[in-house]
């Protein structure tokens, strides 16, 4: 046994302020994102193109939207395992509202989002009023929401929803198409898909809420020390419920987007998506203990996952291997985070 090995970590090491650490974390995540992009650009010709960029952005939307909700819930010290099931239920409700009730598409989708919000509200009540651990409350909701989705559809996909149902998921802004001499249309610019616009707007709004609003401050306070927050007059139960409702609503929205993209509602959609959402938050530096997390971090985290998937696909890596790699990436990032925070 040598002395050098036994020298304990000194508390003075890494004398960075939390703000500096935050920046280091962001650059580390951003850096790995850039590395991924460079590597995949070199290994695949089709990777670094406008078209593929938009494809990735589109693929990332569901992870990011769910990740935004997950981040808020995790900052309060909770967890939401139900979003994958809730998005399926919401999408199915929206589809059935169009098909069975003949509602207009926007109204039906609003109903879908409300379904998500309602599931979130129940999660919030289970956690704050009935004092169930968030893990258990949302685990129950995960099973219930999936079960209801399968029940009301008879476990069959709902199709024949009409073209307008597909607009939200497939439409794009600034799409430029020219008709060539041969009479076939040529896509000059694929446009920015509506879901991507939605994702960016919501991420900015939630970021503003977290950083600049009283509500955001209270969310961090609840996660940092719920009792101190309560004794400072913060409505802890209300704030906590809000985060679950937000997470549920975003799950509802994600459900509508996903089902719209396929123009078919699948009650089996979104299985295990909650784990992608949590992973994106964690890769982005959100602490599962609560009190710590940023929108920008989660945004980067969801792109890391999205780009990994896309790039590995383009390089012909099998889905199984992809899972292994993404699993390793999660372990690696959180381990680095731990090293950084060790004092």
């Amino acid at each position: 046994m040598t002395m050098t090995v036994a020298t304990p970590p000194s508390p003075a090491r890494g004398r960075l302020t939390d703000r500096q650490k935050d920046i280091v974390q962001k650059f580390a995540a951003l850096g790995s994102l850039l590395v991924l992009i460079v590597v995949f650009s070199l290994t695949s010709n089709a990777f670094f193109t406008v078209n593929n960029g938009m494809t990735i952005a589109l693929q990332v939307t569901s992870i990011a939207l769910l990740g935004i909700g997950a981040t808020c819930v995790i900052i309060t010290g909770g967890i939401d395992l139900s979003v994958g099931s809730v998005l399926a239920l919401s999408g199915v409700v929206a589809a059935l509202a169009v098909k069975e009730l003949g509602l207009a598409v926007p109204v039906a989708m609003m109903l879908g989002i409300l379904t998500g919000a309602f599931c979130g509200l129940i999660n919030g009540i289970l956690v704050t009023r009935m004092r169930l651990p968030p893990f258990i409350a949302t685990l129950g909701m995960m099973l219930i929401a999936r079960g209801v989705a399968l029940q009301i559809t008879g476990a069959r996909a709902v199709s024949g929803l009409g073209e307008s149902f597909g607009v939200l998921g497939n439409g794009a802004l600034f799409r430029i198409v020219t008709i060539g001499d041969d009479g076939f249309p040529t896509v000059v610019f694929p446009g920015i898909p509506y879901p991507v616009i939605l994702m960016v707007v919501i991420a900015l709004a939630v970021s503003l809420m977290l950083n600049r609003s009283v509500l955001g401050r209270h969310i961090y306070a609840v996660g940092s020390n719920a009792e101190a927050a309560r004794l400072s007059g913060v409505n802890v139960a209300g704030v906590t419920r809000f985060t679950y409702v937000l997470s549920g609503s975003l799950a509802g929205l994600t459900g509508c987007v996903l089902m719209s993209r396929l123009v078919t509602a699948q009650p089996n959609e979104g299985v295990m998506y909650e784990l992608d959402a949590i992973a994106s938050a964690v890769i982005g530096g959100t602490s599962l203990i609560g009190g710590v997390g940023t929108m920008s971090g989660t945004f980067i985290g969801s792109f890391v996952i999205g780009i990994l998937r896309n790039g590995l696909n383009m390089n012909g890596v099998s889905a199984f291997t992809q899972q292994i790699i993404i699993g390793l990436v999660i372990l690696l990032t959180v381990w680095i985070d731990q090293l950084r925070n060790r004092r």
Binding site: M1, T2, R15, S213, Y220, N225, A228, L231, S232, G233
Partner: protein, 521 residues
Amino acid sequence: MPNGAIAGGRIDASQPAAAGETLLSLENISKEFPGVKALQGVHFNLRRGEVHAVCGENGAGKSTLMKIISGVYTPTSGRIVYKGTARSFASPLEAEALGIAIIHQELNLIPHLSVAENIYLAREPRRGFLVDRKALKANAQTCLDRLGVAIEPERRVRELSVAQCQMVEIAKALSLNAEVLIMDEPTSSLTEQETRLLFKVIHDLKASGVGIVYISHRLDEMAEIVDRVTVLRDGRYVATDDFAATNVDEIVSRMVGRSLEEKFPERTSRPTRDVILAARGLTRRGAFHDIDFELRRGEILGFAGLMDAGRTEVARAIFGADALDAGAITLEGRQLDIRSPRDAIAAGLAYLSEDRKAQGLAVKMPVDANMTLANMDEVSNRFGLIDFVKHAKAARHYIDLLSIKTPSASQPVRLLSGGNQQKIIIGKWLFRQSRVLIFDEPTRGIDVGAKFAIYQIMDELAAKGIGVILISSELPEVLGMTDRIAVFHQGRIAGVLETAATSQEEIMHYASGYGPAGSRD
């Protein structure tokens, strides 16, 4: 790298030596962290059968020194001689194996395990692969008997009081054949009675030849057990004295590096007849009954009593943190209907809890965010968005007003000292324009200089017409700072005493349930 490194587990077979023999000595110890000299040239030695106190303000280097003795840190330079052999402990386990045990301020027991299981954790007597439960219980019983404390070895630790947990920790140390015992603030959460019991145990340990390193902020109680005292200041060695040859004032002036004429500031506020807060018949079943008191403008009212006498419980109930079963509270003549801390805060009440880290502060958040947390409306617009200019101004104002020492307003509060943390909480309530502040053990774990500053702030608040209630287990503090004292006993107010006309003895008399002493009312 010193040569005296441990050769795996070889322990000299020294016979039990006479009391007074030097057990442990640290010579010229320095410890540097990048950019910080935590200790410079510190000397310390411990004899068999003595209690040696280490005193110093927060940040003086006490913890670093203890961590070096207990093997958590290795010194940058200097020599450690333990039982005549130069040593260097590579880890706490190694120090423990050689007979050096530490009892931390935050106790390290596992609540769900029994007393016996805690004492023998990771050293359970075995029979094959299974734990020998009989031997476990018997061995634990022997340890507890040695201490003379009546704790069932089979009770779950979570059912024990803090004092009992401490006894279990000591029993655990004894079971390790500890010859050096480090006690870090052992009395900080004990009642007077429990402290008596602890001191009796310490006396017995001394008699059996154990050397005890004793760290405490409560200098007043040291006279009873401490033999010698070493003072540190700013990481440097100041002096070591026989306790009998020095006095508290001298120790304090060495700690702070200046002479402190008074431990308490001159009171400038004078109580008036004007009642700010009145409580009538407050009752919470199982906690307190029929609590009546009046708090007057300009007055500091003390709540004295033993632990669990109901002082904190009454404060929490007034603040809406726990529900009241009966009773009425009036603030400046208005009857209040308080159902939650939010109602109480809106009415102008503030409660500074005894456990700052668990209940007072969002420790991961910065100074400014903590300061404004109770009054976000004041620093935000009608859309609920924070006005960062106002926010920064408010934080700066109270940082300056209360002389809070922090590198910046964005420093996370967990990195600040206890005194500065307490000031941040005070700042939070001042910013909220609170009319009544209830301080619950405001100086616990805070160094002498910072205590004085907190007392001054309390006096200034009272002078400004803010009602101040001081809950404290330290009688000198209650006597030094208050105008009147409500003494609690088993959930009732046993008597309200004029501070100027009472004494520690009289307060203790009421607190232990004997009612008025002699002919006094």
